[in-house]
């Protein structure tokens, strides 16, 4: 019995060795040294300093929402991006659909597939500020910049990314266009200019009053007023539905935690909120001015994103008096 097991074991080893066939690109990626072909510069980022090519051609981005948005806005379509986990169809930021042809998916946002990142042969990697654990490995593939995200001031983030990829001028143009659109939006508000808009995001276990986020930054820039009760808040807080005074406003915009994954659980959370017995306590509810908005869009960020939100808002607020 023992001898048979040993022979079987050896046979397995040989079978595996014989059966495997490898496939490897013949190019030697590590021999491409950016500093020998292009100019380079040193940039400071969230995790230190890195020397990057001045004119990156093949960018891989590890954030399929705001950072991908900035690159697409600058016409610098990356060769690879991470995607939302669990999505069957479109893996990147919902509002970017149709503009990401040629972008390879390189794994999930929380656990990017380092082999796929390497396979994309990037010359620059843009990562998230919290991805400290793989920063060393990423730098071995290509110079890596951890974009310092504030998750609220998208104009500043946009300028940063544009500077890194060498498109600072174009970014200024686009920001000016965005400001023009903000002006146009303000003039269409009409009677709604005084409406106090509360933005809340419903999670399965709590309600978050959005205060310092992409959405609220945009609203403030668009001249949309916030409820005075929320003015004292410095950052988003989680509350329960009983705190109607904090949640309430003339208009309430509600969206869920969903950005693609776990859609059912999150949709139920919004439903639970709207059907809650205490929901009727809210003035906005009684006036019929609670609007559910699409979280796949509203939970995002970016400069192209901002324009789409403005369109949504015009529909919800514009022309009401």
């Amino acid at each position: 019995m023992k001898r048979r097991v040993v022979v079987l074991g050896l046979a397995m080893v040989f079978a595996v060795a014989a059966g495997c066939r490898g496939s490897l690109p013949t190019e030697d990626v590590s021999a491409e040294d950016p500093s020998s072909r292009y100019d380079t510069r040193v940039v400071k980022h969230a995790l230190g300093k890195t020397e990057i090519p001045a004119d990156p051609q093949r960018i891989v981005v590890l954030n399929p929402y705001a950072i991908l948005d900035y690159l697409i806005a600058l016409d610098m379509v990356p060769v690879g991006s991470t995607g939302g986990e669990g999505l069957d169809d479109y893996p990147f930021g919902y509002w970017l659909e149709g503009r990401t042809d040629g972008v390879e998916m390189v794994g999930g946002t929380i656990e990017p597939d380092l082999e796929r990142v390497a396979a994309a042969e990037p010359d620059l990697i843009l990562s998230n500020p919290w991805q400290e654990d793989i920063h060393k490995e990423l730098n071995q593939i290509a110079p890596t910049v951890a974009v310092p995200l504030s998750y609220s001031d998208f104009e500043e983030e946009f300028r940063y990314v544009a500077d890194v990829v060498g498109q600072a001028d174009k970014a200024e143009e686009l920001i000016e266009d965005h400001h023009d659109r903000l002006q146009a939006f303000k003039s269409t508000l009409g009677g709604s200019a005084d409406a106090e808009v509360s933005v809340i995001r419903v999670f399965p276990d709590s309600i978050r009053i959005e205060v310092d986020s992409y959405v609220t930054t945009l609203l403030d820039a668009a001249g949309v007023r916030r409820p005075p009760a929320q003015e004292a808040l410095k950052e988003s807080i989680d509350v329960s539905i009983e705190q109607a005074r904090l949640i309430d406003g003339d208009v309430i915009l509600v969206y869920s935690a969903d950005n693609g994954a776990e859609q059912d659980r999150n949709e139920r959370a919004v439903g639970k909120f709207l059907d809650h017995p205490l929901f009727g306590n809210l003035d906005a509810a009684r006036a019929g001015r609670v609007h559910e908005v699409d979280s796949r869009l509203w939970a995002g960020g970016g400069i192209l994103w901002a324009d789409m939100i403005l369109d949504d808002l015009s529909g919800l607020l514009g022309g009401q008096s």
């Binding site: 074991g9 656990e111 082999e115």
Partner: protein
């Protein structure tokens, strides 16, 4: 089984061992299997490599992409898997032998939970990630010391140790849950990933952690194993044979706790390995001995790297944490064990 032994005498009789042939045979086969599965694991991925390309890369003799992929990504991952699998299973074997309860393991008496609490705390407070293994190790040791200290009453009894351990475990888990609920969802996602035990992004520093721990603790464990067998005859008999019971128990707990703590520090709390693998080892070759300890370790290593292959590649392009697969395998087996034990009593 008493006839199938090999008596070894070295250094003119000063080192004398009795090696059980079935155990040695099983151990050798396990080593071969670990080597095979490990090498195979390194050929898999988006870049498919052949076995000799892997071997050449390991020897430092390969061109660009293969070199990076094997030496920076795949090799540390497999080595850490082998190391933590070994450490968890060995730790479980010692605990089960010491407490003489086959249902005990560092998973449930607070070691893993203490490490998790410390690690999650570091993650949600956005502390430096480089300190994560250290924090986890410290958390595990503090929990183990707390269990030992609270269970001491003029000595340690196995039953009391387990009960106190379960209590500490519950407290640590409560603390961890509190942190998860209280902190914003962006930081909590990273913590939840660590909590399931994962070999993702394991680098050579993790190999070093678990390697050093094994190098220090495994010889100690092997040296103490014969005394553990004496202890299993009962405290009074052991004392009569000259064993210092409490010192021995403390040493064994320290070694077992240290092995589990190092494993959690390197890869997070990979569940069920410490609980299930010693059972399998004992089922194959009999009750606890140093050889069974080694065999448990090897089988633990095999379980972890095999589970990691499944976790990484069975559901491509989605990559699972290895702890999910070991739980999926371990939980049903554990239920089966309970069922069998119920039937026998």
């Amino acid at each position: 089984m008493s006839s199938r032994h090999l008596d070894v005498r070295l250094v003119r009789g000063r080192i004398s061992m009795r090696l059980s042939l079935p155990t040695m045979g099983a151990a050798i086969i396990s080593v071969l299997l670990v080597g095979t599965v490990g090498a195979w694991a390194m050929t898999l991925g988006d870049f498919r490599l052949s076995v000799d390309e892997v071997v050449r890369a390991v020897a430092g003799d390969a061109a660009g992409p293969a070199d990076f992929i094997v030496r920076t990504l795949r090799m540390p991952r497999v080595l850490v898997g082998i190391g933590v699998g070994f450490a968890f299973a060995a730790s479980g074997a010692i605990f089960q032998g010491l407490v003489r309860n086959p249902l005990v393991s560092p998973d449930i008496i607070g070691v893993n939970a203490g490490a998790s609490l410390a690690a999650v705390f570091l993650i949600v407070t956005r502390g430096p990630m480089s300190l994560l293994p250290l924090a986890a190790f410290a958390g595990a040791l503090i929990a183990a010391l707390a269990v030992y200290g609270l269970a001491w009453r003029k000595g340690i009894s196995g039953g009391r140790l387990v009960l106190v351990g379960i209590g500490i475990n519950a407290m640590a888990i409560a603390g961890t849950t509190f942190l998860i609920v209280r902190f914003p969802i962006e930081v909590v996602s990273a913590a939840e990933l660590w909590l399931s035990g994962t070999l993702y992004a394991r680098g050579w520093e993790h190999v070093a952690y678990i390697g050093v721990a094994l190098a220090l603790l495994l010889p100690a464990a092997l040296a103490l194993s014969p005394h553990l067998r004496t202890l299993q005859l009962g405290d009074d008999v052991a004392r009569a044979l000259g064993i210092r019971v409490e010192v021995l128990r403390f040493s064994l707990l320290a070694v077992a706790g240290g092995l589990a703590a190092a494993a959690v520090a390197a890869a997070g709390p990979i569940g069920f390995v410490a609980l299930i693998v010693p059972h399998i080892a004992r089922m194959l070759v009999g009750p606890f001995t140093a050889g069974v300890l080694l065999l448990s370790g090897l089988l633990g290593a095999l379980l972890v790297i095999a589970s990691d292959v499944v976790a990484q590649h069975a559901f491509a392009p989605l990559s699972l944490p290895v702890g999910l697969v070991t739980a999926a395998v371990g939980a049903p087996y554990f239920l089966f064990l309970l069922f069998r034990m119920n039937q026998r009593t």
